[in-house]
């Protein structure tokens, strides 16, 4: 690993911690919130937490793979956002609410 462009592991841990916190906040939000849009934002937050870790690792290992990965992650996130928007609009037109609990017709 070329040391001059690498990231010190102490600094790396800061970025990783930030990424992990963002990811965990997203996960907690996803599990606790009931508004569909907010839930979707939370999954996006989880993706962004991963992106932070990826970029930090990329800098640490001094290769571009992590950053390339982030570009693809962003693409998938955009595709999911478009899909989520479509689904949420569809659901809202049917029930006039975004509360996830309004959708519990299916059960055992």
């Amino acid at each position: 690993m070329p040391e001059t462009i690498g990231l010190h592991s102490f600094i790396l841990s800061h970025f990783l911690l930030t990424g992990a916190v963002v990811f965990a906040l997203g996960l907690v939000g996803f599990l606790s919130r009931r508004n569909l849009i907010v839930m979707f934002l939370c999954t996006e937050m989880m993706f962004q937490g991963v992106a932070i870790s990826l970029v930090a690792f990329s800098r640490y290992h001094a290769n571009d793979t992590g950053q390339t990965f982030v570009i693809f992650v962003l693409t998938i996130a955009a595709a999911e956002a478009a899909l989520a928007l479509g689904l949420v609009v569809l659901l809202f037109r049917r029930k006039r609410t975004l509360d996830a609990l309004a959708w519990s017709q299916l059960h055992g």
Partner: protein, 132 residues
Amino acid sequence: MLTTLAVDSFSHYAPLGVLLLIALAFGAGNLVLTRVVGPRRLGEVKGMVYESGVNPISSARRRFNVRFYIVAMTFLVFDVEIVFLYPWATTFPSLAEGSELAPLFLGRMLFFVLTSVIAFAYAWRKGVFRYD
């Protein structure tokens, strides 16, 4: 050496911090100044969103036409294309003249753009861009 780099990279942010402080001071200062110096007149017209602009016709919290969401979705997807075009465009000229990779690289990007064209044709036919 690594530690120096780390410290250096943090000191790069000093101007940003100054800028942030100035921005905060500017905003807070203006608020305080208008409060202290400015005259205070209350009334229905004074409380309107655009006091000297067009009269508002309804609440701003009305529902938007669903078309806007479809346009937003379409924008989102086409917008991301750029993310791939840009790195490609910066590396493509650096390929050696007459390299056997050049047609391959160009072909791949053309294929990629072609898929967007198909998506565009699809959206067109589906009536995404029709506003009547």
